[in-house]
Structure formats: C-alpha cells, structure tokens
C-alpha cells in the first residue's frame, strides 16, 4: 500500500532568503507565476505540460486559491489542492502531488509557496488591517470561538516561542537536558550555512559558547536556537516517471511518506514530548521499505533546536531521550557522519514563511541530484525530510531517493 515511487521531484526554484526584502513586492499570484516558470525551466519542462497544482493560501483571495492560481497562470488542471499544514505544508504538498501522479490524475504538478511581501494597497483598506490583526498573535488565532483566543491568548501563552519552550522544559524534566548538545545543532547547521552562499547567515560562523551566551528568550531557548523569519519563496515540480526520465536532472523519487497530526496547541497533545513525528516517520519508512540506517542525509524541520532533537528521536535515528548523546557524538555538517540540514537549516538558511518548510525538500532534492555545490554530501542517494506545522503538532515525513 502507498506510493510505488513512480513520481519524482524534477525541478526546483528557491529564492535567496532576505531579511530585509530587496526584491520588488509582487502579489502572491505573480510570485506563483515567477516561481513556477523558474522551477519548470530548471526541469526543462513546458508550462503546457502542467496539469496539476498544489497551493497554500494566497494574499489576493481568502477563498478559491487553486482556481485563482490556475486562472492566473492560464493552466487548466485535473488536480487542484490547497494545503494548510503550517510548516508541514511544503512536505505535505509533495506527497499529495506524488499521489495524484501515481493515481494518473496528473502528469506534472506544480507546488509553490511564494513567501515574499506583496505590494501594499494604494489606499488604506479595512481588509488589510484585518489581515494584520489576524497575525498579531503568530500561529494563535484570536478570532471569536477559537479555542486559542479563549483558553491560551488571555494567559499570554501564544505564538511559537513560549509553547516550544514549554515542550523543551517538559523534555528536560523527563529526559534531562544538555544545553551544549542543543546548541551544537545550531552550530553545525551554521557551518553548513557558511558553505551555502544563499543562506542568510552565510559567512557568519558561531560557536556553542555564542549560542549559550545569546539572550534567553523563553527558558531554555536562546535567541540563536530560534528561527529567523525572512522573505523568499520556493516551487517544486513533481512529474510522472516517463516525463521525469527526460528532464535535466536526476529524478528524485518520492518513495514514502507519512502524515500525522493530533492537536493545534501542545497543551492538548496526547504527550508533549512524544510527537506525531513518530507515526509520520514510521509510515514513510515502511512505505519506502527502508530504515533510518539506510538514509544518507536528513533535512528535518528546525524552527528551534529542540525540534531537531525530538525529530531525530521520534523518527528513530536514535532512542527516545538519547538525542543529546546522538548529537554530541555525530558531526551534523555536510562533511560529517550524519549530514543534517545541509543548506543551513532554517535556523541559518532563514525561514521564508511557508517556503521555509519547503527548503528541506529542496535541500534533500539538491543533494540527491548532486548539485549542492560546496555543501555536497558524497554518495547521497536517499534522504529523509520532515515538515512540522503548528507546535510540533502537524507532521509529515518523506523518503526521497535517486535511481
């Protein structure tokens, strides 16, 4: 059951993350078109071949996002999907595209996540301020009737930092906590970023001491363990086997996936430190008929250092509670014995909105295609990718593989 591995990632477009946006503001649908063109060119495919699209929400239309995109691109599709999984959206798009291809619904599917600023309206409009109001509490919804508005926000427990800090604190109480091991995740990923000119922290190495000396934001999370939001965007083209074999790069087959979610707010998760990553990863490995030992590199969602540690544990790369030992005893850089987040991770590459989640798909695909440049992992044929949305609550795992 599951995917047969007959759909492949064949094209990638990824904008350089920008902390202070320099690119001209474009509407989401314009960014969608530009990213799609770039990703199709990368694959060597024509727009006329596209017959599927997967989008997230777009700024220009609160509803009907896929139809708006299809119309704007001038590309009619057999498969139109809207994914809403926060940081897991990118990874969630990929398996949906692969499923559509394997079912024969579509031959070429575009997945795009424009994540750069849109032009401000020339006159102040109430909808614009309403949109700002919607995001004033980060991932927490302040709308009437939202459980977060009623039971979280009034206590100041909102957005992402505090809930992730509480996950880390709970982890510490159950398993112990080695701040240096957590800091090493950020340090190794920064080393990767220093070999990736596209990364926002390119040319800025850090040490464990730097991480531990950075301001404590919410105990036990230091500033340098927290992701940097920025502008960017990404698009990925998924195609069927016949088409994939005629594209410009080595096809990256989508061999397995898993998806699992159970809550929005970690307070109500079944267990705050045993996450749905376990199920998502197990399903992905079983579908691909491989184990963690068969993986050449991982690109796992890293909004915080604790996210990486818990992901590696729950996905089975090490035992539960053994993550700190695992990190301390392995080199997580692209040169190391456990290459992890070779683009720098979002911690050091930058987090361009939802495209930050897709950056892990792009990172893994580039490695398998042997076009990671200075960061290239030798002999990289199989990768494990995760997407993580909400507060460790929405999880997608992918196993990607070259021929």
């Amino acid at each position: 059951m599951g995917l047969r591995g007959e759909a492949a990632i064949v094209g990638i477009a990824e904008l350089r993350p920008e902390r202070k946006p320099q690119r001209e503001p474009r509407f989401t649908i314009e960014q969608w078109a530009l990213l799609s063109k770039q990703a199709l060119d990368d694959a060597g495919l024509r727009a006329e071949m596209v017959d599927g699209l997967v989008t997230a929400g777009i700024a220009e239309s609160a509803m009907f996002a896929p139809a708006t995109v299809s119309e704007y691109l001038g590309i009619p599709v057999n498969f139109a999907e809207h994914v809403d999984l926060g940081g897991a959206t990118g990874a969630g798009m990929i398996w949906r595209a692969a499923a559509a291809v394997e079912l024969g619904i579509a031959d070429v599917v575009l997945c795009a996540l424009p994540s750069s600023p849109v032009p401000p309206a020339p006159v102040s409009q109430p909808p614009a301020s309403a949109a700002r109001g919607r995001w004033q509490f980060g991932a927490s919804s302040s709308r009437y009737g939202s459980p977060q508005a009623e039971f979280e926000i009034p206590y100041g427990s909102l957005a992402q930092n505090a809930p992730y800090a509480m996950i880390a604190q709970r982890y510490a109480a159950e398993f112990g906590y080695d701040p240096r091991a957590l800091a090493k995740i950020a340090v190794d990923q920064r080393a990767n970023a220093c070999a990736n000119p596209a990364a926002i922290f390119y040319g800025k190495p850090i040490t464990i001491e730097d991480v531990l000396a950075s301001p404590m934001v919410a105990d036990p999370l230091h500033l340098l363990e927290i992701v940097m939001p920025c502008a960017g965007g990404a698009a990925v083209v998924v195609a069927n086997a016949d088409i994939a074999r005629g594209t410009r790069h080595r096809p990256v087959w989508i061999r397995g996936f898993g998806e699992r979610l159970d809550a929005k707010t970690p307070t109500y998760a079944k267990d705050m430190v045993r996450t749905p990553i376990a199920d998502a990863a197990r399903h992905a490995f079983e579908m691909a008929a491989v184990t963690p030992a068969d993986i050449d590199m991982v690109s796992v969602y890293d909004c915080y250092t604790i996210t990486v540690l818990m992901t590696l544990e729950d996905a089975g790369f090490c035992g539960k509670g053994k993550g700190a030992d695992f990190i301390s005893s392995h080199d997580l850089t692209f040169r190391g014995d456990f290459p992890c987040n070779t683009h720098g991770g979002q911690l050091s590459f930058g987090q361009p909105g939802l495209a930050g989640g897709m950056s892990h798909v792009c990172d893994a695909a580039r490695q398998i295609q042997a076009r990671s440049g200075e960061n290239q992992v030798a002999d990289c044929h199989r990768a494990f990718v995760t997407g993580n949305g909400g507060i460790m609550s929405e999880q997608v795992g992918l196993v990607l593989q070259g021929d």
Partner: protein, 133 residues
C-alpha cells in the same frame, strides 16, 4: 495596551460563569469515562452527546512551564518575565495558565499547584491562574 480577554461562547459559558464564583467546573463524558478540557459540544474522541458539567477542585500538577523573558505579545510588555505554564488537572486534562505568587527559580515540573482566581478589573472575567500548593 489592553490584554485580550476571553469571550465565552454558548458552549463554554458555564466554565467562565463558575470561575466568576471562584469555582472550577469542567465537562465529563460518562460513556467514555473521561474528563474534558476545553469545553466541547460533543465528547472528543467518541463524539458522544453526553457531556455534563461537574465541579472539580482545580488542583493539579505542573506539566511544563517557561519563563518568557521577552513579552510574548505587545500587550504583555510590562509583565516580563511571564510565567507561562501547562497544568495537568488531577482528573487528567491539561490546561494552559500562568503561574503567580512564585519566584521563577522555584518553579519545577511536577510540583503540586492550586487555582488562583484572578478577577480582571473592569470586566466580568475571572482568569484561572495557578500557584504552588
């Protein structure tokens, strides 16, 4: 800047009404033999239509916490450090809250905690905060 206050809904009203009287009530599903928080219209998991309100002590154990050194939103700019917490009620459900009457250094996961009913001045809302027991 004013802090956002909860706006009770028709379903959640009894919880907030009880807090105003400095009592804690949560829902219970007899068919699932399970306590429920936050308030629902049907029992989570089974979707049984048998939720009933029952008064509880509100006592619980600290499941996790953080000391937020930077305000989590502008409205809390004058309130750092914020002592944010998740309490596991003795009946099982967990609840998001804020700790009061405690120094940050004295907080530990696993300590027993009890309710502190905080009437919000100028409103008819009472928030359910916690302190060490």
């Amino acid at each position: 800047m004013d802090k956002p206050l909860p706006v009770p809904t028709p379903v959640s009203g009894p919880f907030w009404d009880a807090l105003r009287e400095h009592k804690v009530v949560i829902q219970y599903s007899p068919s699932a033999d399970r306590w429920v928080f936050y308030p629902r219209i049907l029992a989570p998991g089974t979707l049984a239509d048998d939720l009933e309100w029952r008064e509880i002590s509100g006592l619980g154990t600290l499941y996790s916490f953080t000391v937020a050194r930077y305000p989590t939103a502008p409205a809390w700019a004058g309130d750092v450090p914020q002592l944010l917490a998740v309490v596991e009620l003795d009946q099982g459900p967990r609840i998001t809250t804020e700790l009061v009457n405690v120094a940050p250094e004295a907080i530990e996961v696993g300590i027993r905690v009890r309710p502190v009913f905080c009437d919000v001045p100028g409103s008819d809302v009472t928030l359910l905060k916690y302190e060490p027991h």
